[in-house]
Amino acid sequence: MILIGERINAGFKDVKAAVINKDGDVIKEWAKKQTAAGATYLDVAIGTASAKPEDLCWMIDMVQSACDTPISIDINKPLLLKEAIKVCKKPPLVNSTPAIAAKMDEILPIVAEYNASIIGLVMNEEGSPKTVDKRIENAGILMSKAMDYGITPDRVFLDPIVMPLKFMQDQPKIIMQTVSQFTLFSDPPCHIVCGLSNASNGAVHKKLINRVLVAMMIAHGLDAAILDVCDEELVNTILTAELCMNRTLYADSFVEAFRKQG
């Protein structure tokens, strides 16, 4: 399972302040902590803290000075992406592009040039879809555009767009059906990712909702998630779900072995 650590996001107060005050230690600590927790990528999101490319580059520099974990660049403004991708030491994950032609034509060439991977959000000009069919349609558009630019399925991450359970309770079931269909798109299949924490927006039992939903989505074919990788119970749930799907080999100490693998 590909784990994308979500914590270096200026939506969080401490990260926003760190970007504004150029306090590198905050960023480095979160980079180390998430890496130790098992993150495959570290998402770096500048959000509203700044619109300057150099500030995003600074954030990435801070992360890379603390660990070797590849970066997930959380941006969809091509200008910011163009600058940020240059400073990435390893091919990054680009988070993300919607299924809108103009956006894809700006972002995908950059992804192709740097041998990066791309998260494709299955939404278009009309916004986030409510049905399985609309999601599938947008996914088809994304996959085919990616192929046009020579981006192979192993570098494409389809995101079915997880909605908050509290406000849109009909959506999780639809999203799961969508994920199942995504697995049939290509052979070998592309990756399937989701922004897991969206599911528990506004809810009280956030961690419980996150871990149950991720297990259910893994059962349908999810193999990547943007999540709170420091939530041990959540990661343990993912490890167990992967065993249930026969993706990894069981051993009695499967949880302990994951924690020790640094």
């Binding site: 990894t248 080999l249 069981y250 051993a251 009695d252 100490s253 302990e256 072995a257 020790k260």
Partner: protein, 318 residues
């Protein structure tokens, strides 16, 4: 019609493990043996890289095993002396390594002392210059003492020492770390225990790159299919990226096959089964050939005819 390309692309490789140390490396071996390193399944050289062919280890023991005459006569008088036996294996039977089994240490048998066992190790090291595998007698308490002495006697030679098991691994790990030997990680025909043993070794600070896995071998007719499936699954899991399963595999074909009636009983007992003279070595050969297809990197063999045929198999098919 275009024939589809069915080549797999495995993302990872199996670890390479080198056994033996030359003079430059601090030992006295004439050459070293390296196994593993492959990026595909056995024999599929069109699909990936197989940098090291499987190797044959000659079964040698410090006391003559309880073997049928068809085997002991094929080996010859030398079977009574571990050093002479090892020499014959290397010079006449053409093995790549020697696997020394300290059967005599068994408390139910000769109950040889650890220092006695160490002296046997020394005699083998003097007699041949191929790398050495050292295995105990199977009694865990005794082996912890025996392997300690044998390991020290062979310090610097980078041997492969066995075995570390789920319930008894700390001593063997300590021994191999101290004397810088490679380790055999053993499991009883159970792939999940096999992975668990590697987790325990890793937890003890042992480098997994110095591990050779061993699922206690089953003879043909006595569970070969179970072990075969495990070897195959383990190999695929390793190639897919599970670092806890990406090790070379050892099979003790010689030790297991010559215990079963198909390799012991002649036509008077098993009528219609053909003469034991031919059947015995064939049983060992067939078992080894199957395991090589499943992923065995080191096969321990006893009968010279089995060694000869398997050498041809390895050269021509793998």
């Amino acid at each position: 019609m275009q024939i589809p390309d069915v080549k797999e692309q495995w993302p990872y490789r199996i670890n390479s493990v080198t056994i033996g140390a030359t003079r430059e490396q601090g030992g006295t071996r004439g050459k070293t043996v390296t196994v593993g390193g492959q990026s595909t399944l056995p024999g599929l050289t069109f699909e990936g890289e197989i940098p090291n062919k499987p190797v044959i280890a000659g079964y040698v023991a410090d006391v003559m095993p309880d073997w049928p005459e068809v085997l002991t006569s094929a080996i010859g008088e030398e079977i009574n002396s571990p050093a002479a036996w090892a020499q014959k294996c290397v010079s006449q039977f053409g093995v790549d390594l020697i696997c020394l089994n300290m059967l005599g240490a068994n408390p139910d048998g000769k109950n040889a002392s650890p220092p006695e066992c160490a002296r046997v190790v020394e005699s083998i090291l003097k007699a041949v210059d191929v790398p050495l595998i050292i295995r105990g007698c199977g009694d865990e308490e005794k082996d912890n003492q025996v392997l300690l002495e044998c390991s020290q006697a062979a310090r610097g030679e980078n041997c492969l020492i066995g075995s570390a098991k789920e319930k008894n691994y700390r001593t063997v790990v300590a021994i191999c770390k101290a004397d810088k030997h490679k380790i055999i990680a053993e499991a009883p025909v159970d792939i999940n225990i096999g992975k668990q043993v590697n987790i325990l070794l890793q937890d003890s600070g042992f480098d997994l790159k110095d591990v050779v896995m061993f699922q206690t071998t089953a003879a043909l007719g006595y569970g070969l299919d179970y072990v075969y499936t495990i070897l195959e699954r383990a190999r695929i899991t390793g190639l897919k990226g599970d670092k806890l399963m990406a090790m070379p595999q050892l099979c003790d074909v010689g030790g297991e096959t010559w215990r079963v009636k198909e390799a012991l009983a002649d036509e008077d007992v098993l009528s219609g089964w053909g003469a034991l003279r031919k059947r015995g070595p064939l049983w060992e050969t067939a078992c080894a050939a199957a395991y090589l297809q499943a992923g065995a990197d080191i096969v321990i063999l006893a009968h010279p005819e089995a060694m000869q045929t398997i050498r041809t198999t390895i050269t021509n098919f793998l």
